[in-house]
Symmetry: C2
DNA sequence: TCCAAGGAGTGCACTGAGTGCCATATGTGG
DNA sequence: CCACATATGGCACTCAGTGCACTCCTTGGA
């Protein structure tokens, strides 16, 4: 009905936005810990109680859009429940987070500076990242149910994807949001995808028949063989 | 001198231990959030102010030994600054953490249950784990300075090692500390070591000459070759 | 034996985050 | 005009954490 909240789920409200704006203004000019919730609500011209209606804690106002992004990621993974290449799927899911950061470069950079300085915010960010990681891991766990060590692989790959994503994201944030963020993230994720045995975006024109391999001693452990290949190709 | 603190660095004092004991007794019988710092100091029979002398926050009393363990890990990595196989080194560093957990199985299991239930403690644990991960990552960053994408690889491998370690550790904790923890962790870490191209403990008797590989088209990308090998060996 | 000096522990008052409860608008449909 | 729900505000309270000053107690020296 038209009487429902027009922005159900998105979490966008004039009040909410006003609080975020007031909070960041003060955080940037005095610092996070030097700003009390009373300061924020005073500047926003609202009651103190309303702040905690919109944000369960003072830290939450710094990450106003992660809740929505996490929901997006969960939905994205749910619709790819039968993707052929699960690792690629979680990499694409990670790109959703990057996209959110890239939508507001200046805001993201400001927030990055804050979280780097303030230990409390860094800790809070960890718990946010942890939820993304768990979302990726539980997707992979479902996909790897049949495998031996499926949950182990799921956890490790999820952690690797998150680490690669964050490595690229942070280097982009450190450069004040200059340049193309997605290129760096693509590169980082391709590394992970390769390490865990899925092909990164297959270079067109490259067909299975193009590579012929002969291996002696079929019982040899895979790691030995790979080592040998690397030497043969001169990439060690 | 004999006048120095007898336990410099270890953080062990009668007072500290008494506080930890009192805290856990109350946490287990009433729950973490239902226990105030005043309750703890009352039970321990000490002044409230003393609590915060030994523990910067209420959460810290739940992880009384991680500070020391982190220092041990840093030292361990420092003395292996020229190890031939950095990945193995960080895996061994991770085993130090496992050892700390395994030294007090019942305590570790109790703490595990607490951290699983209480969101605040889970968040705090994340920041502890994060410090371990950063220690591993900065070791690897130094070792990989020369490599292209050295910091990326360092971050990803550190995250993978931590994830593998935690996967095995948690499954051990879930089983009430039954069985041999180190076996599961060894298995998990071997997976990571393999995925990132270092050989896990080389099966004795296995020599480079045992494996002969012939590859056509030396220009082919490594991932394609590995894929082919896997199919050839029937492990896909 | 007496006297500094320093550290360990304590008491007290204060700030600030977060919560529960109730009062007050501000609609909305009957 | 009346229920009724929903958004907001005010107030009082709990509790974590901090700064400061005070009391011991130990140790070492004269």
């Amino acid at each position: 009905m038209s009487s429902e909240k027009a922005d159900a789920g998105t979490g966008k409200t004039p009040m909410r936005d006003a609080l975020v704006a007031a909070a960041f203004q003060l955080f940037l000019e005095r610092g996070y810990e030097q700003t009390t919730v009373d300061d924020i609500v005073a500047l926003a011209g609202v009651g103190r109680r309303s702040f905690f209606r919109y944000f369960p804690s003072k830290e939450d106002v710094v990450f106003p859009d992660h809740e929505r992004c996490l929901a997006d990621m969960t939905a994205f993974l749910a619709e790819g429940a039968d993707d052929d290449e699960p690792v690629r799927r979680v990499c694409d899911a990670a790109r959703l987070v990057l996209r959110m950061y890239a939508e507001n470069p200046t805001f993201s950079v400001q927030r990055y500076r804050l979280t780097r300085e303030v230990p409390g915010l860094r800790a809070y960010e960890l718990s946010v990242v942890w939820r993304y990681e768990r979302a990726l891991a539980s997707y992979l766990r479902r996909r790897y149910e049949a495998r031996r060590d499926g949950t182990l692989q799921a956890d490790v790959i999820a952690a690797a994807v998150v680490a690669a994503h964050n490595n690229a994201l942070r280097s982009w944030l450190r450069s004040d949001g200059q340049g193309e963020a997605s290129a760096a993230v693509d590169h980082a994720l391709a590394y992970v995808q390769f390490a865990f045995g899925e092909a990164p975006v297959p270079p067109a024109g490259e067909r299975p028949e193009d590579v012929v391999v002969v291996v002696s001693r079929r019982g040899a452990p895979l790691w030995r063989v790979v080592q040998e290949i690397e030497t043969t190709l001169g990439r060690a």
